[in-house]
């Protein structure tokens, strides 16, 4: 097979990948960016160039800011391979991907993994009913197709994206039946300890407060400190039931959008058997890297939300820092410190708000580890929390054995949607830390590929 080569191969055309590409091009490196979508921008800047002006106005200034990065990338001289599905990455920098119905190879002297974040699962009763979806997924529909819910929608959970989507829906004229917030007073108390640090990111803080204030000014029913969330319905969702201040509330709806933050998409870094640690503040796995993002002694770097949730601006800076380090290793940037200094400084500024956000929007235990045995954890193979707990009773030690005990995690999603829940459920049951329980052994293909793609 013909193997293309490049100095830097980047997987993912979101803020981290695009900024890394721009930075690497200024150093004269050859750059190839592989991305699954037909247009660059990642999830955050999805469709930013071709979105109609009215839609951009609804989505707000943070979204439009992506256009600048996208246009810098377009003139950077980096090669962009769109609609490319990466299914295998090796520590030496070799990538296998599918494009135009055929598997191909690309060999990077270095590879930057910038595959971004994914929505944290929200495993409560009824979450698999038709009509329940992630707020992030709903936002993708808004960005890519301008799609808005026709019926009044219920937003539930916590985290910046939930409020942002509520704000965007308001501006677009969509009807919001209720915003059900799981954030409790105790969360504000805990988060307040990190407020001083967060003030360094005062612009971000002000934006967030602005969103929430706008939602409060509207006529939306806002419920805060909610617990015992349950999606009700037989064939599809009919209502969201929950408790607030000791009373039961039930809000009928045909569309329930849930969200409790995003987590790093670590499938690629797991697949190369990189070391990962459990981030106790963000309650998720993150790959262990050096300050530039390099994975051990490999040809691989990680930047952006797939390394640790930092947001779009910090992701871009991490991408630039990784590019500088790679340039340094390839000998085109002998002294990295001068060029890196301002980036390291802005990285500090952009991430200063994180401890505050992590504390404030820490997803509730009951919404991460299902209380009810009935809750489906593995959607592909329909394995429930009760079954997983029974497997533990039979001697199942960790996620890899849940496959053997009951096909948990063996469906097409490769455990992306259930992995965190399975790890935390087993950890709780065995009274261990998630770090002691571990994660699925992720193997290629990272994404499902057609067998026919291997045949000429």
């Amino acid at each position: 097979m013909n193997v293309e080569t490049t100095d830097l191969a980047i997987i993912g055309a979101g803020p981290a990948g695009l900024a890394a590409a721009c930075e690497a091009r200024t150093l004269g490196l050859s750059v190839t960016v592989l991305d699954e979508q037909s247009a660059v921008g990642g999830q955050i800047y999805r469709n930013v160039v071709s979105a109609p002006r009215a839609r951009s106005a609804i989505l707000g200034p943070d979204y439009s800011a992506g256009a600048e990065l996208v246009s810098a990338f377009a003139s950077s001289g980096a090669l962009h391979l769109d609609s490319a599905v990466v299914w295998n990455v090796a520590t030496d920098g070799t990538i296998d991907y599918i494009r135009e119905g055929r598997t191909r190879k690309l060999s990077g002297k270095y590879v930057l993994l910038a595959s971004g974040a994914m929505e944290r699962p929200f495993p409560i009763e009824g979450w698999t009913l038709p009509g329940v979806m992630g707020a992030g997924a709903a936002q993708i529909l808004l960005k890519s197709a301008g799609a808005l819910p026709r019926e009044p929608v219920v937003l539930a959970g916590c985290g910046p994206l939930l409020y942002l989507l509520g704000w965007q829906y308001l501006r677009a004229g969509a009807r919001i039946a209720a915003l059900v917030d799981t954030t409790a007073t105790s969360d504000y108390v805990r988060a307040s300890r990190h407020l001083m640090g967060a003030l360094r990111s005062w612009k971000e803080l002000r934006k967030g407060l602005g969103l929430i204030a706008a939602l409060r000014r509207s006529n939306i029913a806002l419920y805060s400190g909610c617990s015992d969330l349950r999606a009700e319905g037989t064939c599809k969702v009919e209502a969201l039931a929950f408790r607030q201040d000791g009373r039961s509330v039930r809000i009928p709806t045909s569309l329930l959008l849930v969200h409790q933050g995003v987590v790093p998409n670590t499938q690629l870094s797991w697949s190369v058997k990189a070391e990962h640690r459990w981030n106790k503040a963000q309650l998720c796995w993150e790959p262990v890297t050096d300050i530039w993002g390099r994975l051990g002694e490999t040809a691989l770097y990680v930047a952006g939300d797939s390394r640790s949730i930092v947001g779009a601006q910090a992701s871009a800076v991490q991408g630039r820092l990784a590019a500088l380090s790679i340039g340094n290793r390839l000998g085109v940037l002998p002294d990295i410190t001068i060029r890196a200094a301002p980036y390291l400084e802005s990285l500090k500024r952009y991430t200063a708000i994180r401890p505050f956000l992590d504390a404030l929007y820490r997803p509730k235990d009951e919404n991460r580890v299902p209380v009810s045995d009935k809750v489906v954890v593995c959607r592909c193979e329909e394995v429930t929390a009760g079954q997983i707990r029974r497997f533990v009773g039979l001697g199942c030690q960790g996620p890899n054995q849940t496959k053997a005990f009951g096909r948990c995690g063996m469906g097409p999603c490769q455990g992306r949607f259930c992995g965190l829940t399975v790890t935390e459920t087993i950890a709780r049951e065995r009274q261990l830390e998630p770090a002691d329980v571990g994660y699925y052994r992720i193997r290629p293909p990272i994404k499902p590929v057609l067998l026919g793609d291997f045949v000429e």
Binding site: K403, A404, P448
Partner: protein, 377 residues
Amino acid sequence: MSDRMIVIGGGLVGAAVAFGAAREGLGVCVLDQGDSAFRASRGNFGLVWVSSKGAEMPRYAAWSRDALKLWPDLQRELQELTGVDSGLRQVGGFWLGFSDKEMKARYELLSGISRAVDGIPFRMMEPSELRHYLPGLGPKVAGGSFCELDGDANPLMLLRALHSGLIEKGADIVSNVDVVQVRYDQSNGVFEAVAADGQRWQAERLVLAAGLGNARLAPQVGLQAPVKPSRGQVLITERLQPFLHYPMNKLRQTVEGSVQIGSSSEDVGFDDGTTPDVIEWQVKRAVAAFPALAKARLVRAWGALRPLAPDAYPIYEESESCPGAFVVTSHSGVTLAAAHCYVIGPWAAGLSQTPPDFADFSAERFRDPNKSFSHAH
């Protein structure tokens, strides 16, 4: 001392032998590793198969044949005891050839085994006849062979059934144990297993069923298990409508609907990863066999390490210097499950005589310095 037998290894081999002893009333303790162990059982292709086995060791061909006959009893017993279905289907199985040369070699191999061992019938088939059983076969298939004894099972469910059965029979299964040392006290005839973390277990009998771990443990009790890893890569598709009603040696559709493609044999040490070139080669062959598979999605690939003796045949042996210690090593944990349970279990428990002609399975065969081994299996 409550346990009379320690079994090191909770994979398909260890669990089957342990269950065979426990069902006879013996107190059994199974010591199993943690979540990230190599676990060949998890990567097993799932065939219950005799065709082409034992060309150079007729005793092994007969042993596999007899194991197949015992399998329905094991399936029934585990189902009744635990409610877990091991998924046994003994409907006959096919091998596919892609050239006349492959067909000729296959015929010679199978007829040689058939001459040496009774009761292993086979039939060579032209593509036209194959298509009667395997609709959708591609034009590149030159022919095939069929054996009515062959079939398949679900290795994961078998493992789960054996573990549940062990618990039902009162056996102890201790997980997360990495046994680093085994020793024998000649004065009282007691074996002791010592784990890396210092835990210890004692019993009158000891079965080493630790797969690749046997190589290190066996010499400590006067046994030999010169096993080395042989990697098999297996691919699995999304669930498809049932279209393959018979298993093939490199391709089968599971009850759930997914199609398994495999399994390679590679000498790559302890690397249980997957490689794009092997994945590609296996996919090409599967699509050549059944062109409609081109439209199926590949959702998973995995590599697993078979514990393989130099001649790829099992090792079953009791220690002469440490009586009561047994080594059990085989990479055919599914095919041989019922024989491991109903024959090896009682033997290792001291409840039955050594089965006939078992000297053939002794590791003695590797001590001849002038002998070289082929790796066919």
